[in-house]
């Protein structure tokens, strides 16, 4: 009786925990996977480039053929880097939202944060926040207006995030929160449609293409802005890793453990808005990556520890995003699939699996 003060300890025979992948080994596997996908992403396309040339340019060695070099350096490299940054950013923001709202189906897309960012972009591009000087989003080469659009997207994401945060304090039901997120997204979408009706055809076309979601439009000139925004967002998330673990127990326990709730909420708001907003501004609204990747990481590492999940989401988010972009180019011959079609085909089954497993667990 001494060993088990509260009731008999042997209510069920102790079972061995499922074997856990050591965190470092898993992260190495993911890093290798990411590097392989990067090389593959550089090598594949309408013009065939051998793997070794793609690998050379990735590791900074000279590439013989100048045509290959131009294709790799001017076209495929920015696209691949964009895909990696966007995937990391979305996955990390999804992880933060799932813990923040204690909702397994939370993510930048499902809670309407991406829609908020879209509204921000629409305001900048269609309503012409930069007056008549904007010739359309992808054509922008100088950084100024680009940052304006990105800033507008981050502000839109933050606005929806604030709304969701505010209602989440009153709402206990997970599904209600998701429906509300969906409604916020619908409102943002409605406002975008209104803006579209009043904008000229050239801007409308630019905005419509952007809306399909693509990693192809980002140039070297725009990459630093995307890189800094995602880097900053992920850095902020890293500083939140320890309190995020405490938050797994809910706000009450987190506060009783000494978590500064106000500061954590502000940090998470800033980080998620920055990540979801910036990625959406540069790549369009991309669905499912932010929602699915954290779950894949939890399943792979069998842990809820954010000090493992954060780097895992960065790596797997980038890898899955690159794989999706590769799949877009799969048809060949200059034909491409829409990015969101691919991410939906990969991500939706993950969501379905989560729902089915949770239902099964509850019915037991």
């Amino acid at each position: 009786m001494m060993g088990n003060p509260i009731g008999p300890a042997q209510e069920r025979p102790p079972i061995q925990a499922a074997a856990r992948l050591p965190a470092w080994a898993g992260l190495v596997v993911l890093a290798v996977l990411l590097a392989a996908l990067l090389i593959l992403g550089l090598a594949c396309g309408s013009v065939h480039v051998p793997i070794h040339a793609a690998a050379s340019i990735l590791f900074g060695r000279p590439v013989g053929d100048p045509v290959w070099r131009d294709i790799l350096w001017q076209l495929r490299m920015p696209r691949c880097l964009t895909a990696a940054l966007a995937g990391s950013g979305l996955a990390v923001s999804g992880l933060l939202m799932q813990t923040l709202f204690r909702n397994p189906l939370a993510g930048p897309y499902s809670l309407g944060i991406s829609a908020g960012a879209t509204l921000g972009v629409a305001l900048a591009v269609l309503a012409g926040a930069g007056a008549g000087a904007l010739p359309g989003l992808p054509a922008l080469s100088h950084l100024g207006p680009q940052l304006g659009t990105a800033g507008s997207a981050v502000a839109g994401a933050a606005a929806v995030m604030l709304l969701v945060l505010a209602v989440s304090r009153r709402i206990r039901s997970n599904s209600t929160l998701l429906i509300l997120g969906l409604m916020f997204g619908q409102i943002a979408g409605g406002l975008v449609a209104v803006l579209q009706a009043f904008s000229d055809s050239e801007r409308l076309r630019a905005f419509t293409f952007w809306g399909f979601g693509s990693y192809a439009g980002v140039t070297w000139a725009q990459l630093p802005a995307l890189g800094i925004a995602t880097g900053l967002g992920i850095l902020m998330a890293a500083f939140c890793a320890k309190p995020l673990n405490a938050l797994l127990l809910g706000w009450t326990y987190a506060r009783s453990l000494g978590v500064n709730a106000g500061r954590l909420r502000a940090m998470l708001l800033a980080s998620t808005s920055l990540l979801a907003g910036a990625v959406t501004a540069f790549c369009g609204p991309v669905a499912f990556l932010g929602l699915a990747v954290p779950h894949l990481c939890r399943g792979m590492f069998r842990t809820a520890d954010h000090r493992v999940l954060l780097p895992a989401c960065v790596l797997l988010g980038a890898a899955l995003s690159l794989a999706s972009d590769l799949a877009c180019r799969l048809p060949g011959g200059g034909r491409t699939l829409p990015l969101n079609a691919v991410t939906a085909l990969v991500g939706a089954p993950v969501v379905i699996a989560i729902l089915v497993r949770r239902r099964a667990a509850r019915d037991e």
Binding site: G7, R12, K242, G250, T252, R255, G258, R298
Partner: protein
């Protein structure tokens, strides 16, 4: 001020919500090594008091001292190193193992990255052992039963290594034997490391037996602190809980349902069987009066004077199990308890 023997003390504390004080003027203390049970009717403010003591909501007035420090001036992490709380709310913890959960208790002790040192690991191991959760440590939390989950949450609080431990209704989801076991365990936890343990509970009977001290909250917003027996003798427990037909019986330490006892019965025979027979008769509105061998069952309110009874019952433990003989009015009978009750009902 420095008083290691009093981990937690309140000074003119008022708790509640802005504009609505639930409890006020509280001057109480939790002593090291003591198990204190916080009792009171629903809505009397037990949870509000616990939340305020834990720093989860601000006091309306007064102070809380944690050891020798005013809790209001204590940084959140420093408070968390002195005081831990276990709440009732059920939660989904997913992939977290019990050991991971206990490790979260080290939050206020670790640096910004949350890296665990040797001291932390030792505290986690001790917490798991003391809470009886050592065998569970590798199990994921979402596979645990309610009782197991409770032990896991307790292990987390103990890993926090607090001098004061607050628990909100820790026995709510447990069956009776486990409730008794849990309360005894909490008492041992208080004794073992000189912690002060405060437990809110609805389980008056259990609290009366296990607590070193009771904090009794009345619906009017007063708090009385004292030994369980003192409070029982003084009538404070009855004053707090009596409601309608239900009243606290000082003689037995139990609650009784006051039907008017229309008849009385004199019981004789085997003491154990007599005790339970008296219970059964009470349910039928028949008050038991003491007879030979029926010590401790004089539980009626004395309306039926000793010696005069409408019914005579003799209960015996025979070779074929217990049997009852009864005489009521002119009728006599012999048989099982159920047969007797049916006969007396007629």
């Amino acid at each position: 001020m420095t008083n290691r023997a009093v981990p937690l003390r309140t000074e003119a504390l008022a708790v509640g919500y802005p504009g609505r004080a639930v409890l006020s003027g509280l001057d109480v203390e939790l002593r090291a090594g003591e198990l204190v049970c916080l009792l009171g009717p629903n809505g009397a403010g037990k949870s509000t008091l616990l939340r305020t003591l834990a720093g989860l909501q601000p006091p309306l007035a007064g102070r809380i001292w944690l050891e020798d420090r005013d809790a209001a001036t204590l940084p959140a992490a420093a408070r968390a190193r002195r005081l831990a709380i276990v709440l009732t709310e059920r939660m989904e913890l997913g992939h977290l193992t019990v050991e991971d959960l206990a490790a979260l208790g080290r939050y206020p002790h670790t640096g910004w990255s949350g890296r665990l040192g040797d001291e932390d690991r030792e505290a986690i191991r001790r917490g798991l052992e003391e809470a009886g959760a050592w065998e569970l440590r590798l199990r994921p939390c979402d596979e645990l039963s309610d009782g197991e989950k409770q032990r896991a949450m307790l292990a987390r609080a103990l890993a926090q290594d607090p001098v004061a431990l607050l628990l909100d209704e820790p026995t709510a989801f447990l069956d009776l034997p486990r409730r008794v076991g849990a309360m005894r365990a909490l008492r041992r936890l208080a004794r073992m490391r000189g912690r002060a343990v405060l437990v809110s509970t609805h389980d008056l009977d259990l609290a009366l037996r296990a607590a070193d001290r009771l904090w009794l909250v009345s619906a009017e917003g007063a708090l009385r602190s004292g030994l369980p027996e003192e409070l029982a003798i003084s009538g404070a427990i009855g004053g707090t809980f009596d409601q309608g037909d239900v009243a606290f019986d000082r003689a037995t330490g139990e609650f009784r349902i006051h039907g008017e006892a229309a008849r009385s019965a004199r019981l004789q025979g085997d003491p154990d069987i007599v005790f339970w027979t008296a219970r059964a008769l009470e349910r039928e509105g028949i008050a038991a009066v003491s007879g030979a061998g029926a010590a401790g069952t004089a539980a009626g309110d004395g309306s039926a004077g000793a010696g005069t009874a409408d019914i005579e019952v003799r209960a015996e433990r025979g070779s074929a199990g217990p049997s009852w003989m009864w005489r009521a009015g002119g009728a006599e009978g012999r048989g099982s308890l159920e047969e007797m009750l049916r006969a007396l009902r007629a």
